[in-house]
C-alpha cells in the first residue's frame, strides 16, 4: 500500500518546480534517484476524498446515547460571544455544539454534550461559558468507551 502512495507521490510531483532539475521522471536518466531527491520531509497530505470509512457527523453523534434534561447545564453569555473574534469553541467542541450565528454570536445546544470541559478550558473570555454538570442521571451515557 505504501508503495502505491510513493509512486503516486512521485508521479504527482514529476514536472513540478523543485524536482524538475533532478529529472527523476526522465527515462533516459541512468542514475537512480538519490534519497534526498525524494524529499519526504515535505509531507504530502492525503486528499480529503481519500479518507477511508467516512462517517457523517449526524451518524457519529447518532452513535452516542443521551438522556436529555429539560434544563440546560451549560449556558453562554452571547453578548461576550459577539465580541469574540476567535470562537475556538466552534471548532474544538468534539460534539460540535457551538454554532456561529449570522449576528456574530453563538447558538449553543446542550442536548448532545459529552460533559468534557473543552469549551470552558479553551474559551478566551472568562465567564462567557457557565459550565456545570447535568442533573444526576441525565446527560451523556457512554457504553463502549
Amino acid at each position: 500500500m505504501k508503495k502505491t502512495y510513493a509512486l503516486r507521490y512521485l508521479s504527482s510531483r514529476s514536472g513540478s518546480r523543485k524536482h524538475n532539475s533532478t529529472g527523476h521522471d526522465d527515462p533516459t536518466r541512468s542514475e537512480p534517484l538519490t534519497y534526498e531527491e525524494l524529499d519526504w520531509a515535505e509531507n504530502f497530505p492525503l486528499p480529503d476524498d481519500q479518507l477511508l470509512h467516512p462517517v457523517a457527523f449526524e451518524d457519529r453523534m447518532g452513535s452516542v446515547h443521551f438522556i436529555v434534561h429539560e434544563r440546560a447545564h451549560i449556558t453562554i453569555d452571547n453578548d461576550t460571544c459577539k465580541g469574540c473574534t476567535t470562537k475556538s469553541c466552534v471548532t474544538a467542541c468534539p460534539a460540535g455544539l457551538f454554532v456561529p450565528t449570522a449576528d456574530g454570536g453563538i447558538l449553543f445546544n446542550y442536548e448532545q454534550c459529552f460533559e468534557c470541559g473543552t469549551c470552558y478550558m479553551i474559551c478566551n473570555h472568562k465567564g462567557a461559558i457557565s459550565w456545570s454538570y447535568p442533573v444526576g442521571g441525565y446527560g451523556v451515557e457512554f457504553r463502549y468507551a
Partner: protein, 433 residues
C-alpha cells in the same frame, strides 16, 4: 431532611470506588456518589487497565473483572504522513495469571469496581450530582447534591469527581488551570467481529493488542492509540487543547485522518462505528497537580491530575485506584482518630510520595512536557522514519548508505540541532535512569 454519614466519596470511577472500598472495609459508613445512572456511564479512557494495583484490594480480581481481552502484544508506532515504524513486542507471560494489562469497557469495569466497594458495605448512590461543598468555619463538612433536600453531611469528603473537579476548584486547591496541561481524548469504537480482529492482529482466544502511536496528529501535539476489545476496535487521538483550538481543526477529523493512514486503514475495512466519545485528560503530570488536601477534604484520581502520560507509559486507572486507595486509608485513620484537619490529612500526600503514584510522577516529571514538544511530535518521527526508509531502500549499484552520515543529514533536514538532541536525550535518560 439532611443525612449525615462518616465519609462521602464523590464519583464512582476507579479512584472513588477504591477509596470507598478501603473505607468500608475499615468499618466506616461511606456514601459513594455517582452522577451517572450507573458507574462508568460518564467515563472514557484509551482502553487498557493495568491490574497489579488490584491484587491487594481484590485478590483474584481477574476471575470477576469484566475483561475484554488480555494484552499480550504491545506496539509502539511512529507515524509520519506516509511512513510507519513499529516496535512490536509480544509475550506469553501476560496471557496468564497474574496478567498485566487488559482491555475493558468503562461502563462494565467501573460498575464492577463499585460493586466490590458495595460488597464491603459502601452505599452507592447513582444519578446524584454533587453540586457543591458544605463548609463550616472553613472546614469541609459535606456536599450538597441535586436531590431534593440533598445536603449530605460527613466528617470527611473524598473528591474523585474527575478531570474537571469542580469540588477541588471550589475548595481552592487549584491555583490556576492551564489549558496547556490538558489534552482532549477523542475516541471511536468500531465493530469488526472477534474472528476478523483475531486474524488481522494475529491474536487467538482472548489475547489483545495495545498500539500506541507517536505522530499522526499534526499539527496538533498529542498521539494516538488503537486497542482490541473482544469484537470491537477502539481508535483514538489525544490532542493538546491549546493546539487544537489554534489549529481550528475538528477533533473527529483528526481521528478520521489517523484512521485513514495507509498503515492503519486496512485494519478497519468492513467495520462500522459503534460509538463516538470524548473526554479531557490531565496530562501535565507532577508539576500541574493541585494541593491534595484541605480541612475535611482529600482529592484523588483525575481530579488530582494523576494520569501518567510519559510517551512510553500511558496509564491512568491504576494511578486513580492507587491514589483512591491511599486516600481511603488516610481517611479511615483520620476517622479513627477523630482528626479531620489538613495536617492530619497531609499524611495522604506523604504516603502518595512513598507509593508508586507520586513516586513515579515525581521521577518522570520532565517527560510529559517533552512528549508534547514539537521535536518529539514531528521532527524526530520524520527523521527516524526517513533514516529507516533510507536504510531499507536498496539502491544498487550505489553503495549502502553510511548510518552516521544519514542520521546527521536527516536531523539537519528535520531542523534539529545537535545540542537539542543531546539535551532531549539527557532529559529522557535523567527521568528514566
Amino acid at each position: 431532611m439532611s443525612v449525615s454519614t462518616q465519609a462521602v466519596v464523590v464519583g464512582a470511577g476507579p479512584a472513588g470506588s477504591a477509596a470507598a472500598l478501603v473505607l468500608a472495609r475499615a468499618g466506616f459508613e461511606v456514601v459513594l456518589l455517582e452522577r451517572g445512572p450507573y458507574p462508568g456511564s460518564k467515563n472514557v479512557y484509551g482502553g487498557v487497565v493495568y491490574g497489579r494495583i488490584l491484587d491487594e484490594l481484590i485478590p483474584q480480581w481477574w476471575e470477576s473483572a469484566p475483561i475484554q481481552r488480555w494484552i499480550t502484544r504491545r506496539s509502539t508506532v511512529v507515524l509520519t504522513e506516509s511512513q510507519a515504524l513499529s516496535v512490536d513486542f509480544r509475550t506469553q507471560r501476560w496471557k496468564g495469571q497474574p496478567f498485566n494489562g487488559a482491555t475493558a469497557y468503562r461502563s462494565e469495569f467501573d460498575q464492577w469496581l463499585a460493586s466490590q466497594a458495595e460488597k464491603d458495605g459502601a452505599k452507592l448512590l447513582c444519578s446524584t450530582t454533587a453540586v457543591g461543598l458544605i463548609k463550616e468555619g472553613g472546614k469541609v463538612v459535606g456536599v450538597r447534591t441535586d436531590r431534593p433536600n440533598g445536603e449530605l453531611y460527613s466528617k470527611l469528603v473524598v473528591a474523585c469527581d474527575g478531570v474537571n473537579s469542580l469540588l477541588a476548584k471550589e475548595a481552592g486547591l487549584y491555583e490556576d488551570v492551564d489549558a496547556n496541561n490538558f489534552t482532549l481524548g477523542v475516541k471511536e469504537v468500531w465493530y469488526l467481529g472477534k474472528k476478523e480482529i483475531d486474524n488481522r492482529f494475529g491474536l487467538s482466544m482472548n489475547e489483545g493488542v495495545d498500539i500506541e502511536i507517536l505522530g499522526g496528529t499534526n499539527p496538533i501535539a498529542g498521539g494516538g492509540f488503537i486497542y482490541t476489545n473482544l469484537d470491537t476496535l477502539a481508535i483514538g487521538a489525544v490532542l493538546r487543547l491549546t493546539d487544537l483550538a489554534a489549529s481550528r481543526k475538528r477533533p473527529e477529523e483528526i481521528v478520521a485522518r489517523l484512521r485513514s493512514h495507509p498503515a492503519i486503514a486496512p485494519w478497519f475495512l468492513g467495520s462500522h462505528l459503534v460509538e463516538y466519545s470524548a473526554h479531557l485528560i490531565p496530562e501535565g503530570g507532577y508539576h500541574s497537580m493541585p494541593r491534595l488536601v484541605t480541612d475535611g477534604l482529600l482529592v484523588a484520581g483525575d481530579a488530582a491530575g494523576m494520569c501518567l502520560t510519559t510517551g512510553i507509559w500511558l496509564e491512568g486507572i491504576n494511578y486513580a485506584i492507587g491514589s483512591g486507595a491511599i486516600a481511603g486509608k488516610v481517611a479511615a485513620a483520620a476517622l479513627a482518630r477523630g482528626d479531620y484537619s489538613s495536617s492530619m490529612l497531609s499524611k495522604y500526600e506523604t504516603e502518595l510520595h512513598h507509593s508508586f503514584v507520586l513516586g513515579n510522577h515525581r521521577r518522570l516529571r520532565h517527560l510529559p512536557h517533552l512528549v508534547l514538544s514539537e521535536r518529539l511530535q514531528s521532527r524526530y518521527p520524520q527523521a527516524l522514519c526517513n533514516v529507516v526508509e533510507s536504510m531499507f531502500t536498496v539502491r544498487d549499484p550505489l553503495p549502502k548508505p553510511r548510518l552516521s552520515r544519514l542520521v546527521r543529514a536527516e536531523l539537519k533536514k528535520a531542523g534539529v540541532r545537535g545540542t537539542e538532541l543531546l539535551s532531549d536525550l539527557l532529559s529522557i535518560l535523567r527521568d528514566l535512569q
